[in-house]
């Protein structure tokens, strides 16, 4: 499915060669194979330098947001939690706003682009504040308190961001287009930037899939079964956040992926995290690549932000989950 989505993503776009030539050309580029596809060098550049990084990045972002979403749902035992709950999104948004207000144009001469770094740093900082506040007041039952702390931190950070935007209304447009999510400017540099974080965070999360099943029986019983509940929660939250912050830094805020995908997987194969985590990873990549396609062609040559597409699909799906959950009670 992921492979199919990757191919579709590479084949569809506003400019470039006819769609059926592209898989042939991709095969041609593989070592030891020579197939005449009729794709010219400039057309290949469109595919390789414009489309492919975008598709690969969409895949990475989708994989990471989905597996992080499933992990958060596991450690908080709350099916409606997503990667943005703990303040990652708001923090990253604030970081981006900072960069835009300080003057993005002036920073282009810098050695590295400060935007992803600021988004990443502030996202991580927001989660740390949430975690410290949540565990300081939460005592033994920190799961609910942590979620509440996340809500508080999010509103505080959003308020600061709104204040900043009011003072610098000239950058509002840029900030919002970043918040709505964009993959359109993806380059191989972006892919290289997030890849290590994505690999690290998903590997650690996948190793915790059995323990997430243990946590499903609650903190008390998991403790009685010999699990270090707080340690597991800390590690999973940290690495899920690391992955999320990294992808948010390059893609902007793409909502609902972390909820839709794990739930779709649960409907298909059951609720055990042993299968939910790896399948969310695969399906999430496929989903986001697919969701990115209408964004590219709907309002051609302009682009519909991918955040709009996922929210369009996500919001009704969210309500559907709520309804089925209520019906099953």
């Amino acid at each position: 499915m992921l492979v199919l989505a990757l191919l579709c993503g590479a084949m569809i776009g506003p400019a470039g060669p006819t769609w059926w030539r592209i898989p042939l050309e991709l095969l041609n580029r593989l070592p030891l194979l020579t197939i005449h596809s009729g794709v010219s060098e400039s057309e290949w550049n469109i595919i390789w330098l414009v489309r492919m990084p975008r598709v690969v990045l969409a895949g990475l972002v989708g994989c990471t947001l989905s597996i992080a979403g499933a992990s958060y749902q596991g450690v908080f035992r709350n099916p409606l939690v997503d990667p943005y709950l703990l303040g990652v999104a708001a923090g990253a948004g604030l970081g981006a706003t900072f960069v835009f207000t300080i003057n993005r144009a002036g920073s282009s001469t810098w050695l590295i682009d400060p935007l992803p770094l600021a988004a990443f740093g502030c996202g991580l900082a927001a989660v740390l504040v949430t975690y410290v506040v949540g565990t300081a007041f939460g005592g033994e039952r920190s799961s609910t308190t942590l979620v509440l702390a996340g809500v508080a931190v999010t509103s505080l950070v959003t308020a600061v961001q709104a204040f900043l935007l009011q003072r610098h209304s000239d950058v509002m447009r840029e900030v919002y287009s970043w918040i709505l999510g964009r993959l359109s400017t993806a380059t191989w540099t972006d892919v290289r930037l997030v890849l290590p974080y994505v690999v690290l965070s998903t590997t650690v999360l996948l190793f915790h899939r059995r323990l997430l099943d243990v946590l499903r029986v609650g903190d008390d019983e998991a403790t009685a079964l010999g699990a270090h509940v707080n340690r597991i929660r800390l590690v999973v939250v940290l690495f899920a956040t690391l992955g999320t912050a990294a992808v948010v830094a390059v893609s902007g805020l793409i909502g609902f992926v972390g909820i839709i995908v794990p739930h779709a997987v649960r409907l298909l194969v059951g609720a055990s995290y042993r299968v939910v985590l790896p399948l969310s990873f695969l399906l999430g990549g496929a989903f986001l690549i697919t969701a990115d396609i209408p964004g590219r062609i709907l309002s051609n040559p302009a682009e519909t932000p991918i955040g709009v597409v996922t929210a369009f699909l996500g919001a009704p799906f969210f309500l559907l989950i709520l309804r089925t959950r209520q019906a099953s009670r």
Partner: protein
């Protein structure tokens, strides 16, 4: 068979003393039942043993204090069935019982062939083979209790703790659950500590009863020694008739104060 010693065990929630300097020796293979009114500290004591609440004093299992054992090793020694186990409705019985093997699996590891074989044999021994793929949400109260006990059995721990194992069951399933525990105890030489409200059932299944009141150990002994009308009146504030069967069973029957 494994012994369990409590040495001046105290449990405190903030300023409230739930258990105060509780000392008791549970002999290997013995079934000890904690009785006492609500809030007497029975559950807190059980929760202290499995590490859910912290305690002062010492709990010694087979000569080693629990403070010196790590969480996994402790879970290999002590299995716990809470009063109302959390049973996710979308988890199936097999996945649930498999959780009992957690103490034997390393942090990043997964269950071995031995673990899955063990779980399969638990399903067979407890006559639960038909339940393997049933969702927990579909099970009745009695079935849920048996599956919860099955998870504790899969833990292969020599000490079994049961918090109110019969509280939500009808009289038939109460007996079924306790018979199951009794059978497991005899077959595997388990040491059992339970907290129970039904004094008649407590007296007929446990070897020894310990009455707790406001965190303190009040009196301990056989059913005949502990279940006396005066004692129960003093600590439960209840008027009861205690009936002694010829076979040694003690039945506790609450008396109605007014009859019109």
């Amino acid at each position: 068979m494994t012994s369990l010693n409590f040495e001046k065990v105290s449990v405190q929630y903030g300023h409230r003393h739930a258990v105060v300097e509780f000392s008791e020796v549970v002999r290997p293979g013995e079934w000890l039942c904690l009785i006492g009114p609500n809030g007497a500290g029975k559950s807190s004591l059980l929760r202290a043993i499995v590490g859910i609440v912290s305690f002062s004093g010492n709990i010694v299992v087979d000569g080693t204090t629990l403070h010196d054992r790590n969480a996994r090793r402790r879970a290999q020694l002590v299995a716990y069935v809470p009063q109302s186990p959390v049973m996710p409705s979308d988890m199936n019985a097999y996945e649930y019982v498999l959780l009992g093997r957690n103490p034997y699996v390393s942090h990043f590891g997964s269950e071995s062939v031995h673990d899955t074989a063990m779980v399969n044999s638990v399903f067979e021994r407890l006559d639960l083979s038909d339940f393997t793929h049933r969702q927990l949400g579909e099970l009745s109260g009695g079935e849920r209790q048996r599956v919860a006990i099955a998870r504790a059995v899969a833990q292969e721990a020599p000490i079994l703790l049961l918090d109110e194992p019969t509280s939500s069951l009808d009289i038939g399933h109460q007996q079924q659950a306790l018979e199951l525990v009794d059978k497991l105890r005899r077959e595997h030489g388990l040491t059992v500590v339970s907290a129970m409200h039904d004094l008649t059932l407590a007296g007929s299944y446990a070897d020894r009863l310990v009455l707790m009141h406001e965190g303190h150990r009040v009196v301990g002994g056989t059913a005949q020694e502990v279940l006396r009308a005066e004692t129960l009146a003093e600590f439960y504030g209840v008027s009861v008739h205690v009936h002694h069967e010829p076979d040694g069973t003690v039945a506790v029957i609450p008396r109605r104060s007014l009859r019109t």
